[in-house]
């Protein structure tokens, strides 16, 4: 059983691309700060970053919320900056990671209100990686478990 739950799909987010960078260093040169990311990615848009280090995958940075009318809090700004630094380190981790899903988890821990980061395997980009979240220590016993299939079974 997967410990990841895909609640939202690309379709649900209805995100549209706003740009593409062909390398991580190119991206950090132009949008390497929290404020520049906020202004470059409007709500509902996503930006894609490719890099050789990601193999065939890409890094997606997207915004779900429209915070344009709010002053970005300094705490949020520093969180996003920290996240960028972590991704920077992650590029190496990703290259060496035995299990890329651990890296996705690493990034999803950095989810913030204004900006979210995700690594999306390009090859399976129709999948639900835009917003997966980890369930809390589930037991792997669903195979033996029984589940209701209709209202009648519950209300009996």
């Amino acid at each position: 059983m997967s410990k990841y739950l895909a609640v939202l799909s690309n379709r649900d987010y209805n995100l549209t691309p706003v740009g593409r960078h062909n390398s991580w260093s190119q991206f950090t040169r132009s949008l390497g700060s929290a404020t520049s990311i906020i202004s470059a990615i409007p709500a509902g848009k996503f930006l894609e970053v490719f890099d050789n280090k990601f193999n065939d995958d890409s890094l997606i940075i997207f915004r779900r919320c429209d915070f344009d009318n709010l002053n970005m809090l300094s705490s949020m700004s520093s969180k996003i900056s920290r996240c960028l630094m972590q991704i920077d380190k992650m590029t190496t981790t990703y290259e060496n990671a035995k299990n890329p899903i651990d890296v996705f988890s690493l990034i999803h821990e950095q989810v913030q209100m204004a900006v979210e980061f995700a690594v999306v395997p390009t090859t399976t980009s129709t999948d639900d990686y835009f917003s997966t979240f980890e369930l809390e220590n589930h037991e792997d016993d669903s195979n033996e478990a029984t589940f209701p299939t209709s209202r009648k079974e519950i209300e009996g």
């Binding site: 059983m1 209100m113 669903s142 478990a145 029984t146 589940f147 299939t149 519950i154």
Partner: protein
């Protein structure tokens, strides 16, 4: 602000009068800590999980049990409760149907702000009476989708086994077509409604005594469960017995 000490204050401090009182207030901080610890632990939550263990992994029977015990026969009104708690419009744990509530940044995207949605009222009953709080916190109810894949099954099971700190399960509601397998009360989202609009919302179910206790146990666990050793991280150097002059 000037505080006037009354006879009762002196008695509480073990003094008969102002003349008998020194300037010191003696405090047993360790005792206060022990009192507070009784309100801040996982004991109730763990015991609930254990109580439900006889169901093992038979989630159909678990759901059946919830369906039988969670709600009152009818929505509670002042009349059908014989006015035991006076007149009221809404109570804690009521399931309401409204278009007037807002959900900020929904986690599960089955939410359309222009459509009717179901919510459970979170604050205690006295807080949600008219002209008290201006805004009232809600948890949105998302109908459980058909359990046809492993991911959905695992969530459903975790919620029914009280192993999920952010989702509270509510069984199907009589007369409500949606939520044939029940609803997930989403505490990870922020939903709210203006109090005067809450009063005019349609109430579709009220929680029974057990249902109400379960909701409150969930809320306590959701809001206050202490991570391991958090108390140690917060320990400050104060004396067990304190004397404030």
């Amino acid at each position: 602000m000037k505080t006037t000490l009354t006879k009762q204050h002196f008695q509480l401090l073990g003094k008969k009068s102002r003349g008998d009182m020194s300037n010191e207030v003696k405090l047993d901080v360790d005792e206060l800590k022990k009192i507070l610890e009784t309100y801040h632990n996982k004991e109730c939550w763990t015991k609930i999980q254990k109580w439900f263990e006889p169901f093992q992994s038979d989630n159909t029977k678990r759901a059946k049990f919830f369906a039988k015990i969670m709600y009152t026969q009818d929505v509670l009104t002042a009349e059908n409760t014989n006015n035991v708690i006076g007149s009221f419009n809404v109570l804690q744990g009521d399931v309401i149907k409204t278009k007037s509530a807002n959900t900020f940044n929904p986690i599960i995207k089955d939410y359309n702000p222009l459509e009717y949605n179901y919510y459970v009222v979170i604050p205690s009953s006295c807080s949600v009476q008219p002209n008290r709080y201006k805004w009232v916190l809600l948890a949105r109810l998302s109908p459980v989708e058909p359990l046809n894949d492993g991911k959905r099954k695992s969530i459903y099971e975790s919620v029914l086994k009280f192993k999920n700190g952010k989702i509270f399960y509510l069984p199907p509601i009589k007369g409500v077509q949606e939520g044939a397998l029940g609803f997930y009360g989403l505490f990870e989202e922020i939903s709210y409604i203006e109090n005067n609009r809450l009063q005019s919302s349609s109430r579709v179910a009220s929680l029974s005594e057990i249902g109400w206790y379960l909701l409150n146990a969930f809320i306590v666990n959701h809001l206050t469960r202490p991570p391991k050793n958090e108390n140690k991280a917060r320990t400050t150097n104060h004396p067990a017995k304190w004397c404030i002059k």
